[in-house]
């Protein structure tokens, strides 16, 4: 006993105690807040400033507001006043913040050294290096050996590029826009003599027949078209628009159709022609019919049926429906089915619209889409040839990544290697930039001055929302500086030294155009404040162009022979667009809206094909076309024809930062350098491919467990008739008792003026998942990566579940509504998108089981989660029937400067705590505080959650259930309302409105 002395004992006790303590001590130490010594005038700590600017993630040009806290933009939201997106924003737009704060951004000018590595240089050195080279070329009269490759956005920077190029004397501007609409433009020129892209008024059309346009995901202006589509397609007042999708594959857009006509990959054109013929021959086209009759005479439904892969009766039926609909639209083919005769296919759709009298009614020229005409394939080929031959001395690349987004067969990559000096202005090490000799990183759009004209009459204005994060410089400034360094004609062409004033002066013309009565300074200020200037554009009258008679509707050539049995469809990824989203972890981790796959590429094939090949999800197959081959895992999909396979574009980067590189495949490696013959636009549908199993297998990470709701009435669908009846009944009820509160309004403190609730209309929801990314941005949700996502550890507080199911009995269908029934899924043409998050139950199963009251019911009816109190028993998550709870399995990293995006109003959770949707309680608090300052309650519409705010289809409505007149109360009392798993008596605060099915026989 005397072996241990008292002092030793105390020492041991101390050391072991400290050791035990240390183990758990990975919590961040407390940091002190340092107040401003001299407070900037506009910044009040804790109060956000909002700056209007333009989203530049795709050419659609949505207006956005950047929410800036203490000098850092932390969230972007749609600009409610902007005519394009009316306050809504897609996932890609939300993720623009991760472009700004991307840790893999190029942080300063870089020069390639002899060894091939990049080294940082100063801006001065970099600019003089370029200026010297240009001066040499200029002096020797070789200025035309300078090329400038840029995107197709129309705006002041584009104007500067034009002026700059002509100032130095080079005509060689190449415009590259990955997904252009040139076939449509050309078709409009041929059909109507107007080389423009019209506005399709989807909100005014009761019948939409799409021949492939991916208008809900990437085509032209997806947020705008989603909004317009939802306007007519959601169930309201007994009405619901009808949408028929014609094409080889169900894209996200197609998955929202009421009917899928699985035409062959090139069949859409034939279907359009045959439909037009029916309209014309049956006299439905009136006087217009005579002019186009000779064009379509030959295309009888019977004749085209086989080639189009659609039965003649179906074509007849579609044509009848199209003729009978009070208002209709035929939408042109999209990117995925743009083939070598795409212009003709667009002409065919134009003819159908023309025959139905839609021009000027639902298809309106006037508010046209504004895009620069991209360089066509012939010119690209020629340019690539010049580069290869060494004739190109300097190539500038801005805002585009041609190496990644043009078919590999074009050889842009090698061509650039032979250019003496490739200067990239990219913010990221993309595939093109990785081949550059000099990188002069531009600001990201949120740091830039600029403007963008997405459609006639709409001019969005961009302003910097923060000081540049890194040592970058606006490309406009660089060009102006280069011009002045060059001296002579180039310098005298420009009177400005910085792009901001150049921009401001450019706007003098816009001022004259928009508001000449206003003083320019006022106009400028209001434009900066409101995010631009816009006015409505009138509708242009349209007549048929006689030249249309010469259109050749031949079947386009598709490469390949008997050894390549499948038609290869490559399609733009809804999340990653052309690949530019691949370095944004939010977009990588956002489940693909159709397949629910994250962080990878896949090849979609029909179950019958998969069975023939003996493969299933995750089996790696080799896809080979006559032009190349790639390996990708299989995704078995019912929504694709048996003769077709499909691969999304967007992955397969060799560079482009930690999240993009080495991930998935780029299917452009399989394509020939082929173009639509008339417009010269890339023919994406141009080759067949063979599929062979490799025997290897990977885990293809899908975030959804099963796609079959097993009759559990989770994702409910009712027929149009039943919905109409139920809604009418409910409307009477509401009229009779307008002050009646919904039942779930009780589940809060009796004294509280609020019981927060939500209504989600499944007939509006298109499944785009913008809500998911908005939630990530608002609530500091960590990104876990592919490996953890494979284990089911993704942290999304809101997810969109896809349920494929048979129509319910009420809809008048048995189980034979078409499609193949797999072991795990119902009818692929009827997918219901179900946004699922914490239901803020009134009688929440999670609450009683928590041993420490970390989750409890607050006086306003919310299930709140107290992170500080949570010990992590995870019992609450086990007891949550909605599986809405997420657990912090690790401490997750927000690598600098990604951490600058974190919302200061929301805790960054530490490992070991449970978390979930809070109904954006921080937003509620600030609205409540603001209202309290004015001595009133929060008004309806004054506060909304991040998901509801961004929803392009306005499917989510948030509000106070204790206000009988609030929108959410009205919707909750709808005849279509139901609670998911309501039979468990959880009393959810979220009411879903059943999806409405039209059934096919009405068509």
């Amino acid at each position: 006993m005397s072996d241990i002395k008292r002092r030793d004992f105390l020492k041991i006790l101390g050391i072991s105690g400290a050791g035990t303590g240390l183990v758990g001590c990975s919590q961040e130490p407390a940091q002190k807040l340092i107040p401003y010594l001299v407070r900037p005038e506009e910044i009040i700590p804790g109060i956000p400033n909002w700056y209007a600017t333009v989203c530049r993630e795709c050419p659609a040009g949505c207006g956005v507001h950047a929410k800036v806290r203490e000098g850092r933009p932390i969230k972007v939201e749609g600009n409610p006043d902007h005519p394009v997106n009316a306050g809504r924003l897609c996932a890609r737009g939300q993720a623009s913040l991760q472009g700004l704060y991307n840790p893999d951004r190029i942080q300063s000018p870089l020069r390639r050294t002899e060894s091939g590595e990049f080294e940082a240089i100063s801006w001065d050195d970099a600019e003089s290096l370029v200026a010297e080279r240009l001066a040499t070329l200029s002096a020797s009269g070789q200025a035309d050996r300078v090329y400038l490759i840029s995107d197709g956005a129309v705006g002041t920077l584009d104007r500067l590029f034009d002026e700059w190029m002509s100032a130095i004397g080079s005509p060689n501007r190449l415009i590259h826009e990955s997904f252009d609409v040139e076939p449509l433009r050309e078709a409009n020129r041929v059909t109507f003599g107007l080389a423009d892209i019209p506005r399709y008024d989807l909100d005014a059309a009761e019948l939409v027949v799409s021949f492939g346009a991916e208008f809900l995901e990437t085509w032209v202006s997806p947020v705008q078209y989603t909004r317009l589509f939802a306007e007519s397609h959601r169930f309201r007042n007994g009405q619901k628009g009808h949408f028929i999708h014609i094409g080889p594959r169900l894209s996200l857009t197609g998955a929202n159709a009421d009917e899928w006509v699985a035409a062959s990959p090139t069949g859409a054109m034939l279907v359009a022609l045959a439909m037009t013929r029916v309209l014309v021959t049956e006299g439905r086209a009136g006087a217009r019919g005579a002019a186009i009759r000779p064009l379509v005479e030959a295309f009888t439904a019977e004749r085209v049926a086989e080639a189009a892969g659609v039965e003649a009766e179906t074509i007849e039926r579609l044509a009848q429906a199209f003729a009978e609909a009070p208002s209709s639209i035929a939408l042109p083919p999209g990117i995925a089915t743009s083939h070598r005769n795409a212009t003709a296919a667009n002409v065919a759709v134009n003819l159908l619209n023309y025959a139905a009298g839609n021009l000027g009614r639902t298809v309106r020229f006037g508010p046209n889409v504004v895009r620069r005409q991209p360089t066509n394939l012939a010119r690209w080929t020629e340019a690539a040839e010049s580069m290869r031959s060494g004739a190109v001395q300097v190539a500038f690349v801005h805002g585009t990544d041609p190496v990644q987004t043009l078919p590999a067969a074009l050889g842009i990559s090698e061509a650039l290697d032979n250019v003496d000096l490739v200067v990239s202005f990219s913010s990221f090490m993309d595939e093109t930039t990785a081949r550059a000799d000099l990188i002069l990183p531009d600001h990201t759009p949120l740091e830039s001055w600029g403007d963008h004209e997405p459609e006639v009459g709409v001019r969005g204005l961009m302003q910097p929302t923060l000081n540049p994060v890194f040592d970058t410089r606006a490309t406009g400034d660089v060009m102006l500086s280069l011009a002045s360094r060059l001296g002579g004609a180039a310098a005298s062409a420009f009177s400005h030294t910085d792009f901001a004033s150049y921009l401001r002066d450019t706007w003098r013309a816009i001022h004259r155009d928009h508001a000449p009565q206003q003083a320019f300074d006022d106009f400028w200020r209001t434009s900066v404040q409101s995010g631009g200037a816009w006015r409505s554009a009138g509708t242009q009258a349209v007549t048929l162009n006689p030249a249309v008679a010469g259109v050749n509707f031949d079947e386009p050539a598709i490469d390949g022979d008997a050894s390549t049995p499948y038609t290869l469809v490559v399609y733009p990824s809804p999340n990653l667009y052309d690949g530019r989203g691949a370095n944004r972890p939010w977009l990588q981790e956002l489940p693909d809206p159709v397949t629910k796959v994250v962080w990878n590429s896949w090849v979609e094939m029909h179950p019958a094909v998969a069975e023939r090949l003996g493969v299933s999800n995750g089996d790696v197959v080799e896809i080979s076309s006559p032009h190349g081959s790639v390996e990708a895992p299989v995704f078995v999909y019912h929504g694709i024809r048996e003769d077709t396979i499909a691969i999304p574009i967007g992955q397969g980067h060799e560079h482009f930062g930690r999240w993009a590189q080495g991930r998935g495949v780029n299917p452009l490696a399989l394509l020939p350098a082929a173009a639509d013959e008339s417009s010269g636009s890339i023919a994406w549908l141009s080759t067949h491919a063979a599929v062979t199993a490799t025997g290897r297998r990977i885990q293809l990470v899908e975030t959804q467990g099963s796609y079959d709701d097993r009759g559990r009435e989770i994702a409910e669908v009712i027929s149009l008739a039943a919905a109409t009846e139920a809604e009418a009944h409910a409307a009477e009820e509401i009229e009779a008792n307008p002050e009646e509160l919904v039942e779930t309004s009780q589940d809060a403190d009796p004294k509280s003026p609020y019981r927060w609730g939500m209504a989600i209309d499944l007939s509006s929801c298109i499944g785009c998942s913008a809500c998911v990314t908005a939630c990530y941005a608002e609530n500091n949700i960590p990104i876990v990566g592919e490996e953890l996502a494979a284990q089911g550890r993704e942290m999304a507080w809101i997810r969109v579940e896809n349920y494929y199911e048979h129509l319910l009995e009420e809809a008048g269908h048995g189980e034979s509504s078409g499609g193949t029934h797999g072991e795990d899924a119902g009818d692929p043409t009827h997918v219901v998108h179900l946004p699922m998050m914490c239901q803020q139950c009134g009688n929440a199963p999670c609450e009683p089981v928590c041993p420490v009251y970390a989750t409890y019911h607050n006086p306003e009816g919310l299930n709140v989660q107290v992170y500080n109190r949570c010990v992590g028993t995870r019992y609450c998550a086990n007891n949550c029937p909605y599986k809405a709870r997420r657990f912090e399995w690790f401490d997750y990293d927000f690598p600098y400067p990604l951490n600058l995006q974190l919302n200061p109003d929301v805790t960054v959770r530490e490992k070991g705590v449970m978390e979930k949707c809070t109904f954006c309680v921080q937003r509620i608090m600030s609205a409540r505080d603001a209202a309290a300052h004015e001595g009133r309650d929060v008004a309806d519409g004054e506060v909304t959650t991040a998901c509801a705010q961004t929803c392009p289809a306005e499917a989510i409505v948030f509000g106070n259930l204790r206000d009988p007149h609030s929108r959410v109360s009205r919707l909750t009392r709808s005849g279509r309302s139901y609670h998911v798993l309501g039979e468990l008596n959880t009393r959810p605060a979220i009411t879903y409105l059943k999806d409405v099915s039209r059934g096919t026989e009405e068509a």
Binding site: Y707, R712, P848, V849, P851, V871, P881, D891, E910, L984
Partner: protein
């Protein structure tokens, strides 16, 4: 090791010599085993520290299977903890004479099993450094635990059970402590004097007077009466962790009796599994023999039948309820991704124990050992199946997911067995593994004496 056969004396003397002789004096086998156990324990400790440092993600649990082998182990070890009190208390009240030679070891097992089980709620906590939030301790914010939560009930149920079991075990030890103390009375070596002192202290001044015996017997009877309801309550409360939840596959009124029967089933199996090598190693074959295994076999058979009935009843009630979600859950349990564990569970817990209908098998110690091991495996899997399959396949099909244990969880699971055995090994060498007093009582009452296998008993 009783290395030297004692000279024939009185039977009582022989009992003392045999049982006390098995104490102390560890040989190389004992030391090797202990070394291995400590090695495993260190590895498991490392795994635990690793988990605390990096987060629960190092375990395999994930959305939606938030509870995995940790809670499986917890329920399993609480189950193991049942046999001790059952054998000591209930069989004592029922005057079952055959309990006398196994109750001590079974009670020790109970204590150690609770000590093992009690670790798992801590191991599985996301933030173990705040474990004290679970206890009702005074704090300036007046925060109390949520008494509606079954986890808080667990906390009380298990701590009560542990306290009572420990006291009950200790009360049984008092006369034996005195016996050991007396054996060292007058010894001269330092070690022997120390032992006399320790055991003497533990004997609480036991003299064996009539008064003491009278009070002692009454106290023991009351303790048995207090402990008896705990046998039923503890696992009932543990089962409510599941039954009170709304998860299909958990939410069932049959859970309390089903879990209690299962607990006794697994507890008896563990007693058999442990006692067979133990009687051999300590040379106590005469004391624990075919007679005892026959009886334990009967008890195991009974509880196996109850457990089998519960399996059937669960399926029947699910079918009878007509609830499609629950039916789906139960169908999936049998034929889904975890059909392997389900098959192991049914085979080990229902089919194999049917062999126990045969008296010959019950009296064949080798076969009994094998059966008991199967039952242990089966019962571990039963808990795994109940926990994991129910969570993996809940209400929303879109949220279904699977679970595979990680190396951390497996290390800690193996470590828990090492932890349990570690304590049991210490027990075997420091405390009389068989109740000296009660064996002597049996002999005195002519109920049973060492070596009697009661071959002719019906």
């Amino acid at each position: 090791m009783a290395s030297v056969a004692p000279p024939a004396g009185s039977t009582f003397g022989r009992v003392s010599r045999d049982i006390i002789g098995a104490l102390w004096g560890a040989d190389w086998r004992y030391k090797t085993l202990m070394a291995v156990l400590i090695l495993i324990l260190s590895w498991a400790g490392f795994a635990w520290v690793y988990q605390i440092k990096y987060g629960m993600g190092t375990a395999g649990i994930t959305h939606p299977v938030m509870w995995g082998v940790y809670i499986t182990n917890f329920v399993f070890w609480v189950g193991i903890a049942h046999s001790g009190t059952l054998i000591s208390a209930i069989l004592y009240l029922l005057r079952s004479g055959w309990r006398t030679t196994i109750n001590r070891a079974a009670e020790a097992m109970t204590i150690f099993a609770v000590m093992t089980a009690g670790l798992f709620p801590l191991i599985h906590l996301g933030r173990i450094w705040y474990f004290y939030f679970l206890a009702p301790y005074p704090n300036q914010r007046f925060l109390w635990p949520n008494f509606r939560s079954p986890l808080v009930w667990d906390f009380f149920a298990i701590s009560t059970y542990f306290t009572i079991s420990l006291l009950f075990w200790y009360s049984g030890l008092i006369p034996d402590m005195a016996t050991i103390r007396d054996k060292f009375r007058g010894a001269t070596s330092r070690m022997a004097r120390l032992k006399e002192k320790i055991y003497g202290t533990l004997a609480l001044g036991w003299q064996g007077s009539d008064d003491q015996w009278k009070n002692y017997r009454r106290m023991y009877l009351y303790m048995a009466a207090i402990a008896t309801p705990l046998v039923l309550s503890v696992h009932s409360v543990v089962s409510w962790d599941f039954a009170m939840a709304i998860t299909p596959g958990w939410h069932s009124t049959i859970f309390a009796p089903y879990f209690v029967a299962g607990a006794i089933f697994s507890g008896i199996a563990m007693v058999i599994t442990l006692s067979i090598p133990f009687r051999w190693a300590l040379g106590l074959e005469d004391y624990i023999n075919e007679y005892h295994y026959d009886n334990m076999g009967k008890l195991m058979l009974l509880t196996s039948l109850i457990v089998g009935y519960a399996y059937g009843a669960e399926y029947f009630m699910t079918w009878y309820s007509g609830d499609p979600i629950e039916m789906d859950s139960f169908t999936w349990r049998a034929i889904g991704a975890y059909r392997g564990p389900f098959a192991i569970m049914v085979t080990c817990n229902v089919l194999i124990p049917l062999l126990l209908f045969s008296r010959r098998i019950r009296r064949n110690i080798k076969v009994m050992f094998v059966i008991s091991v199967f039952v242990n495996i089966g019962m571990w899997y039963e808990r795994f199946v109940i926990i994991v399959t129910s969570l993996a396949h809940e209400y929303l099909p879109g949220a279904w997911g699977l679970y595979t244990p990680s190396w951390v969880e497996l290390s800690i699971t193996v470590g828990s067995f090492a932890w349990f055995l570690f304590w049991f090994m210490i027990f075997a060498k420091t405390l009389p593994a068989i109740s000296i007093t009660e064996v002597k009582e049996s002999i005195a009452e002519g109920v049973w004496s060492p070596g009697d296998k009661k071959e002719d008993a019906s």
